[in-house]
């Protein structure tokens, strides 16, 4: 990268810029229009989507949502599902990955194959069988009916990411910790887990995104609208007769803003997690 001096502006580079900018504009214009629409009235918005608010900024779309207790209850539900899921994923995946990465034992490959089955089937594919099991366990309308399957289906991916990191920690460190009198558990606790903190942060971040955006399972499991997370809660704000577009836009914007902030804060971990630590920020 550094060996090459700043490239000259040639025609082909101009075309590259043009292409990238056009794609970026096409991709982002809907988002910008939605955000602009959220501060106008539905009528204004539908007659001319791309304009600044003419009759003053309409904060009503936001105050309509932000003063409704339903909205804040959904925020609470989403937080509860997301934080519990993430906590449990770390708690279950880290020991699992440590064993698979550093300890050899009988039955290892059988168990690893079971874990791999989970890699192949995301929750979407297993939704009906999982729904039946949740019904059998009497977890319909319970947050656990969403959280426990979410944890289960986040486990395989998270474990595999962690195994990669745990394997990369040199065996000398492990030997040294045994010489210092550590047990295997002590080695996990005092050496492996602290060193893998960035990887644990990566799986935590991916789980947060995944659980926060979850929709399908909640749709199937949570019939009671008092338990709906934000993704389902939008149904309560659409308007009874025809779509109240401006209010929907405000709701969407309220979902976009935390996602963008979270991404910018956690970009390093998201990128590391998805690319196995290969892409440099």
């Amino acid at each position: 990268m550094t060996s090459i001096s700043a490239p000259k502006m040639t025609f082909s580079r101009f075309l590259m810029y043009l292409f990238v900018i056009v794609v970026a504009l096409l991709m982002f214009s809907p988002v910008v229009v939605v955000i602009l629409g959220s501060i106008r009235t539905t009528g204004e918005f539908m007659s001319n989507p791309v304009a600044l608010p003419k009759t003053g900024i309409k904060w009503e779309n936001y105050t309509d949502i932000l003063t409704k207790p339903e909205f804040w209850r959904s925020v609470g539900n989403s937080l509860r599902i997301t934080l519990t899921t993430t906590f449990l994923v770390i708690l279950a995946a880290a020991p699992l990955a440590a064993i698979f990465a550093r300890v050899s034992f009988k039955g290892r490959s059988v168990l690893f194959n079971i874990l791999s089955i989970g890699l192949l089937f995301p929750l979407v594919v297993a939704i009906l069988p999982v729904f039946l099991q949740i019904r059998n366990l009497n977890l319909i309308n319970s947050f656990w009916g969403v959280i426990l399957p979410l944890v289960t289906f986040s486990l395989p991916g998270s474990t595999v990411i962690l195994i990669g990191f745990f394997r990369a920690i040199p065996a000398e460190l492990e030997d040294a910790s045994y010489i210092d009198g550590c047990t295997t558990f002590g080695f996990f606790r005092h050496v492996l887990f602290p060193l893998a903190r960035p990887a644990i942060a990566a799986i935590a971040t991916l789980t947060v995104v995944n659980a926060w955006n979850e929709y399908f399972l909640s749709l199937v499991v949570l019939g009671d609208s008092k338990k709906w997370p934000l993704t389902l809660g939008i149904m309560q704000f659409q308007g009874q007769y025809g779509t109240e577009w401006a209010r929907v836009m405000a709701y969407i914007t309220l979902l976009i803003i935390p996602a963008v902030i979270f991404y910018l804060l956690a970009e390093r971990y998201i990128v590391t997690g998805l690319t196995g630590g290969e892409l440099k920020g």
């Binding site: 970026a24 809907p30 064993i99 399957p149 486990l155 558990f185 996602a259 990128v271 998805l274 892409l279």
Partner: protein, 315 residues
């Protein structure tokens, strides 16, 4: 004297044995304790549900009464003779084909431009392209529900700029446009993820190899075709794999945009399963659909891993 030495020797040997046994015991306890929480969950919410689905799939069952109407493989026969389900499979394949032909090449083009073209603001562009991947699928679906809206939606308004007489298209209720319209949303949402993987792959290829090909007289196209892309083989194979699997696992975007309509023209496998299995509480039939989806995924994954990724399941 000899006896004492022998005794201490035995004692220390016994001591060593108990130490060893205790260490072995501790190790077993540790393994079990570490694996237990994860595998209890995997058993409860993955293995048992799959087994149950296979069992239920042989019954005609609405989820309420007892399981007493055994019908063998009739649910499977019904699925494959149902035109709507066959249509759903066909639509999933169309989405898959479009993803491989358009979405992945677009992602690769942008990755190549960003990484090899040495554009300024590389990171800014990367963020813009990748952000939709972080948005909830709900967000994506509602944004595009508005864009496609026949009365005042962004797309029709945009096309009016070029043709003031344009009458507008109802993108999501027009039988001819609905699948493509959905594909555009999926591309918008997911291509950034593939681009990110390509960017990671490209950064791992040493530029020296490409430069030496240039020195040897290769033009840019040849460098790309014979050096860069072959070295990206693993990453490309992975994205193709994920893209194909993903095409059969779409639900939310389609559900919000069209609900599978009009006239089942955008029905995908999972929307069909949700509608006919869960909503109508035909749980036996729905279980059969789930098993079919499992089987397709499993067969494809094993086949692909053996043939293309050259990897076995363990490691």
């Amino acid at each position: 004297m000899d006896e004492t030495r022998m005794l201490t020797g035995t004692a220390s040997r016994i001591q060593a044995n108990t130490d060893k046994r205790r260490a072995q015991w501790n190790k077993t306890v540790l393994i079990v304790a570490c694996l237990l929480p994860g595998f209890v969950l995997l058993t409860t919410f993955l293995l048992i549900p799959i087994a149950q689905a296979m069992y239920y799939s042989t019954y005609n069952w609405n989820g309420l009464g007892p399981l007493d109407n055994f019908i063998g493989l009739d649910n499977y026969r019904r699925a494959f003779s149902e035109p709507v389900f066959r249509g759903a499979i066909k639509h999933s394949f169309i989405i898959m084909g479009l993803s491989l032909l358009i979405q992945l090449p677009l992602a690769m083009t942008l990755a190549l431009i960003l990484v090899r073209g040495q554009l300024r603001f590389q990171r800014f562009f990367r963020t813009i392209f990748f952000l939709p991947y972080v948005f909830s699928e709900i967000v994506a679906a509602y944004i595009w529900l508005y864009v496609y809206n026949p009365r005042g939606g962004l797309l029709n308004r945009f096309l009016e700029i070029f043709n003031p007489a344009y009458a507008g298209t109802a993108w999501l209720t027009d039988l001819d446009t609905v699948l493509v319209a959905i594909f555009v949303v999926l591309t918008w949402k997911f291509f950034g993820f593939h681009m990110l993987l390509y960017m990671a792959g490209l950064q791992n290829i040493s530029r020296e190899v490409e430069d030496s090909a240039r020195v040897a007289g290769a033009n840019e196209y040849q460098v790309l075709r014979f050096v860069t892309l072959p070295m990206m083989r693993d990453t490309i194979a992975l994205t193709v794999f994920l893209s194909i699997l993903g095409s059969f696992q779409q639900f939310i975007v389609v559900w919000i945009l069209t609900g599978g309509g009009p006239a089942f023209r955008s029905e995908l496998i999972v929307t069909y399963l949700y509608k006919f299995g869960i909503q109508r509480m035909q749980l036996g039939y729905g279980s059969a659909l789930a098993v079919i989806l499992f089987a397709m995924t499993l067969l494809f994954s094993i086949g692909y891993q053996r043939l293309v990724l050259h990897r076995t399941m363990a490691d």
